[in-house]
């Protein structure tokens, strides 16, 4: 009894630590009073203000357009990359996959500074284009990681069967392989979009000429001083990303379940066959 009580309060405590700051943030985004720590009644005032602020509106615009374009481009590039990697021999596949993990594990600040240096080296003016390129770059590895497992589940003979029936390689890919890996591609696109809209560090180093996304706007507002609008803006970002993550999780779980169903079915078939063969052997 006591042990159970301790266990529960321990995990409760962890959740409080994790979520208390966010909760406070959300609550205070509805606070009438300008000063923190002082509850002056409920209001949607700060949210309304957000949509009147030109700077914030343009940040919304940049965040969404960068998010959508980088998700689309990185998904296309990442999908083809995954197909290429899938068709490589074992050793090459392993090498490329490890290289692919590197940017995933690399600290954002290193990626950010590196990209900035590269852009400056090639005399790119920092702005919308460089921000977009940076986002596409850091999203591609995640798309590959989402699509590759789907390819691996495919029957190896599927594309061959299509070609055997007269399909040219690209037609076979479009008609037979693509429909099978679409769930992975959509998940990859969602992950890319989520990563793009909540990125701060890499964006901070790779943008310029007045192009800012929401994270950068929040950052510069916070530097200028206390403004309850920051709370409202952060709350919107938090909720959006949370919803996207829930969606992605739901999709991956569903895919897993479907695979398990299929595997179970195959298992059943194999067991059934094995059972039959056994009993036949016994009879002979």
């Amino acid at each position: 009894m006591v042990k159970k009580w301790i266990e529960r309060s321990y995990s409760g405590l962890i959740f409080v630590f994790l979520y208390a700051p966010i909760l406070v943030l959300i609550i205070f985004s509805f606070n009438e009073s300008r000063t923190r720590g002082n509850w002056g009644g409920f209001t949607l005032h700060w949210y309304a203000d957000l949509f009147r602020d030109r700077q914030i509106l343009s940040a919304f615009y940049y965040t969404l357009s960068i998010g959508v374009i980088s998700a689309v481009v990185s998904t296309i590039v990442g999908t083809f990359a995954a197909v290429g990697i899938y068709n490589m021999r074992y050793l090459g596949q392993k090498t490329i996959l490890n290289l692919n993990y590197l940017p995933v594990l690399n600290p954002d600040i290193v990626t950010g500074v590196a990209l900035m240096t590269l852009f400056i080296f090639f005399n790119f003016r920092l702005g919308f284009l460089t921000l977009l390129l940076a986002h596409i770059t850091f999203c591609i590895p995640y798309v590959i990681l989402a699509v590759l497992p789907k390819l691996r589940q495919l029957d190896k003979n599927l594309a061959e069967a299509a070609m055997d029936l007269g399909a040219k390689p690209f037609y076979a890919f479009r008609k037979v392989v693509l429909p099978e890996i679409t769930p992975g591609i959509i998940t990859g696109a969602l992950i890319a979009f989520t990563l793009s809209i909540d990125d701060f560090v890499i964006s901070f180093f790779t943008t310029g000429s007045g192009v800012t996304n929401i994270s950068i706007t929040v950052f510069s507002m916070a530097r200028r001083g206390v403004n309850p609008m920051i709370n409202a803006l952060s709350t919107i970002m938090f909720t959006t990303v949370l919803l996207l993550l829930l969606w992605i999780n739901y999709r991956t779980n569903k895919e897993k379940e479907e695979d398990e169903d299929e595997k179970e079915l195959q298992m059943y078939n194999v067991l059934g066959t094995a059972g039959d063969t056994l009993s036949d052997d016994d009879r002979v």
Binding site: D155, D164, L165, D276
Partner: protein
């Protein structure tokens, strides 16, 4: 025309440098013939099939189709279709769409497709299954759809890669008969791959026994069974007793320290040979009436016969014997073999 449907000319394949999976394969297949590639796993039979289908390129040698080289043609330009081991049906399409896949690529008009798919479904006994999802079908039904999907394109050659491997024994036997029937009905060449010797013997016009990337023997099922040319074939097809011996002269072979009458001519004086005797061809006699005396070691009931292991008193070698007559372990018996049931093959 005098041309072969398919003609493999010295086909060799190495996936890695100097690791030959196929070594100098020569194989000529006639029109309307049912030919089976038979061998243990890893013998190169599936690779041979994949080279003919266009999924692998031969490292050396040439593949002729009706007398013309198809070596450099991709799979989608060959008049050959394949039934894959795990069927490889398209999961997001229904039965109709699966079978119509090849016809759609060839831009056959809609009514033509409807009719052809319908004919195919009646050929494979799955009328009314057009709208069914492929995953809702049983293994045997999926198998039939895979065959229909290939045959609807009217190929001149159908390649089948262990198509019955995933089915249970009962269904496998039914499908063997079914497949042979379909082949006779559509009248095209079937090239079939299996490791199941019974399947090969039952269905084929000719059997190609393969081992370690080489062809051991090509022949009619009866010839392969009755006149194996190599010790490998003798062991792989059915069961056999294999002895080392010497040809003394015409119609006389010496093995196990005794002389046996046979019906083979001496290849040369005291030529070294292998002697093969099928377990069911061994005759058991009274202790002293046989050519060899042996002691029964084990007796196992197998249903239609008893299987007995008999140790020769000459040289301690064991004979496997199938007989409807039961002998008890410990008993000493005589062994003889009718001359025409002794098979001789060259050694060395």
């Amino acid at each position: 025309m005098g041309e072969y449907m398919i003609d493999l000319k010295g086909v060799s394949k190495a996936f890695r440098k100097d690791q030959w999976v196929l070594d100098d394969i020569h194989l000529s297949i006639l029109e309307k013939e049912f030919v089976t590639l038979l061998g243990p796993s890893g013998c190169g039979k599936t690779t041979t099939l994949r080279i003919i289908g266009g999924f692998e390129a031969a490292t050396r040698g040439d593949v002729l189709f009706e007398g013309k080289s198809i070596r450099d043609l991709p799979p989608y330009e060959r008049q050959i279709n394949t039934v894959f081991q795990k069927y490889a049906l398209f999961p997001h399409m229904n039965v109709f769409e699966n079978i119509a896949f090849g016809l759609n690529i060839k831009r056959v008009p809609k009514e033509g497709i409807q009719k052809k798919v319908k004919d195919m479904l009646s050929l494979i006994d799955l009328k009314g299954f057009e709208k069914r999802r492929v995953h809702s079908l049983s293994g045997g039904q999926q198998q039939r759809v895979a065959i229909a999907r290939a045959l609807v394109n009217e190929p001149k050659v159908l390649l089948l890669d262990e198509p019955l491997g995933a089915l249970d024994l009962q269904l496998r036997k039914e499908m063997q008969v079914e497949l042979k029937k379909i082949q006779e009905q559509v009248g095209i060449t079937f090239l079939y791959v299996t490791h199941d010797q019974e399947e090969a013997l039952t269905m084929s016009d000719r059997v190609v026994v393969m081992n370690e990337g080489r062809i051991e023997q090509i022949g009619r099922p009866e010839d392969i069974y009755n006149e194996p040319k190599t010790p490998f074939v003798a062991n792989f097809i059915g069961e056999s007793n294999l002895f080392e011996g010497e040809m003394k002269q015409d119609n006389l072979v010496y093995f196990q320290g005794k002389r046996f009458q046979c019906v083979d001519k001496a290849f040369a004086d005291t030529e070294k040979v292998f002697v093969v005797v099928r377990p069911e061809d061994v005759e058991l006699t009274g202790k002293t009436n046989g050519i060899i005396e042996g002691e029964v070691l084990r007796t196992t009931f197998k249903g239609i016969h008893y299987e007995m292991m008999i140790k020769s008193l000459e040289d301690e070698k064991e004979w496997k014997v199938h007989s409807t007559e039961r002998r008890t372990p410990g008993e000493v018996v005589g062994i003889t073999v009718r001359p025409d049931l002794i098979h001789i093959m060259k050694r060395g």
